[in-house]
C-alpha cells in the first residue's frame, strides 16, 4: 500500500484484464509520473527529455504489462524499465556525439550503462583521498585498506573512495549507522598503526 490510497495490484490487474484499461493506465501514469520525472532529472536529462523518456517508459509498460507476473515488486519492475530507457537514451546521445552531431548535454558515457556513472557518483574523487599527499602515499593507503577485514574494508572504501557519509554507507551495506561508525573507528586505529604518523590526521 502506498500513500496514494488504492493498492497497486488491483490497478495492474484491471490494466491486464482490459476492464477499465485506459482509466487504470491513467492512474498509473498519474501516480508514477513525478517519481519517474525526478529519476530522469537526477540522471541529468532536461525537462523536455524527461517528458519524452517518461512517455517512452509508459509505452514499454503498456506493451509489457502482460509479462509482469507480480513476482517482483511493481516499483522495481518499473524502475528497471525506466533505468533501461535512460541507458538507451544516453547511448543514443553518445553515438550522436561520436558522429559529430550536436547534442544538448555533455554527459560522459561509461561503458554499457552510461547512465549509471552519472548522478551523485560525480563526487567519486573523494575529498579525504585528495587530501593525501602524492601517489606513493595513496598507494600505501590503498594497500593497507586491502588488508582490512571484509566489512571494515568495504566501509572504508565507501568512505574514502566514494566520499559517502555514515548513513549512506549504512544504507548501501544494509548495516546500522552505529555499526558503520564503529567499523570506521577501528579502521582508523588500524591504519594509523600500520601507516604511522603520516596518516595520524586522516579523517574517516
Amino acid at each position: 500500500m502506498s500513500r496514494h490510497g488504492e493498492p497497486i495490484e488491483p490497478i495492474i490487474q484491471r490494466l491486464r484484464d482490459g476492464t477499465g484499461r485506459e482509466e487504470s493506465f491513467r492512474t498509473l501514469f498519474d501516480r508514477f509520473y513525478w517519481p519517474l520525472f525526478r529519476f530522469f532529472e537526477h540522471r541529468g536529462f532536461s525537462t523536455e527529455e524527461c517528458q519524452d523518456l517518461i512517455q517512452e517508459t509508459f509505452i514499454r509498460v503498456y506493451r509489457g504489462i502482460e509479462t509482469f507476473r507480480g513476482e517482483a515488486r511493481w516499483e522495481h519492475w518499473l524502475f528497471r524499465i525506466a533505468a533501461n530507457t535512460a541507458i538507451k537514451a544516453l547511448r543514443h546521445r553518445a553515438a550522436a556525439k561520436r558522429a559529430g552531431h550536436e547534442v544538448p548535454l555533455e554527459v560522459e558515457e561509461e561503458g554499457d550503462s552510461p547512465a549509471l556513472a552519472t548522478g551523485e557518483s560525480a563526487r567519486g574523487t573523494a575529498e579525504p583521498l585528495r587530501q593525501l599527499l602524492g601517489k606513493e602515499m595513496k598507494d600505501l593507503l590503498v594497500k593497507a585498506i586491502e588488508g582490512l577485514p571484509g566489512q571494515m574494508r568495504r566501509c572504508v572504501r565507501l568512505r574514502v573512495l566514494q566520499d559517502l557519509d555514515y548513513d549512506e554507507i549504512a544504507e548501501i551495506l544494509q548495516l546500522s549507522p552505529s555499526t558503520v561508525k564503529v567499523q570506521l573507528f577501528k579502521a582508523r586505529k588500524r591504519l594509523q598503526m600500520e601507516l604511522g604518523s603520516s596518516f595520524a590526521d586522516f579523517d574517516l
Binding site: F32, Y33, R38, L78, N84, D112
Partner: protein
Amino acid sequence: MDEKLHAGMKRLIAYREGTLPEAEREALQEHLSLCPRCTGLLRDLKNFETAAAGDVETGPDSLKQEAWESLVRRLPRVQQTPAAIRPVAPLPARRQPSLLYALAAALLLVAVGFSLWSAVTLQQERRRLAGLEKRLEERESALTEAQRSLAETERQLQAAHGRIQALRAARPDAKPDTRETELEARIAELTEDLEKLRRTPQTPRTPGGHDRITAGPGKIDLSAAPRFALRGQEPGDGFLRGGGAVNPVRQGERFVVDLSDHPVHPEYRFELLDQNGKVLWTGRKPGKSLLGDAGTTLLVSGLGPGSYRLRIEGLGADRTELLGEYLLEIKAE
C-alpha cells in the same frame, strides 16, 4: 572497473529486496565498495522507492498533462496497442449499401461477439479458479489443524494412560473403581478412533511446503511408479520390481512427493534407508519429464514392519541439496 563485472539491475534489486544468497550478497557488497556507478544505481533505486511511496517533490500539473496527451498520441503508433486506447477511426463516407459491405459488417459483428464472449468466459473461469483455490486453501488449513489436534489428543491419551498405569503399580492389590474402568474404556475407544483416522488414506499438501507423504501399514515389495528411472539398487531378491507400472494386485502404500518448489534441480535422487542407515533402494527422477516435474509417486509395498527413512535430494551440476528427510513407520497389520 571492468564493465562485465558490474552488478546488473536484477542483482541490485534482489539485494535491495534481501533475496540474494549470502555468498552473492557479500560479493556484491565488495563490488559496491569499489564501484561508484553501481552504488549510484542502488541509491537511485532506493530514492525511486521513496518517491513511488508518495514522498516526492511534484511540479506543475500542466507538465504532467502535456506528457499524458503526448503519450496518448503516441500509443496508437505502438504495435499491439489494445483497441481500448486506440482512437476511434473516423467513419467512412456513406456509400450505397452493397452485398460486400453487408458481408464485411456481418463478419465484424461475429468477430466482436466472439471477442466479447471469450472475454466474459475468461473472466468467469478466472473467478471460478480463484474460488477453487480459496476452498483448497481452507481445506488444507482445516486438515493441518485436524492433524495438530490429533497429535495433541494422542499425547493426552498417552499421558492419561501412563497415569493410570502408575496408580495401578502403586496399588497392585486395589480393585479398580468404576470411574477408572470407564476412563480406561474411553481411552481404548479414542485410541481405536485415532487408529481408524490414521488408516484413512490422505494426501495432505502442506501449504507453501514442498513435500507431502502419507503412509500406512504395508507389506512386501517396493516398486517404482512410471516415469521413474532406477539405478544402483542394493536390496536383495524380491525387493524391486523395476520401473514398470504399479502392480494392482499388490496393494502397497503410495508416497506422493511434490517437488514443485524445487524446479531448479535438473535431477532428483530418492533414497530409502533402514534404521542402520543402509540404503535399501535408490531412484532418480529427471527434473523435467513429459509428464511434468511437479513430483512423483512411489509405491512402497515391500517393507516389513519397522522404521525407515526416505531422503530426497536435488542434484545439480556442482552440488547436491538435501530437500527433505522423512521417517516412515511401517506397522504390522
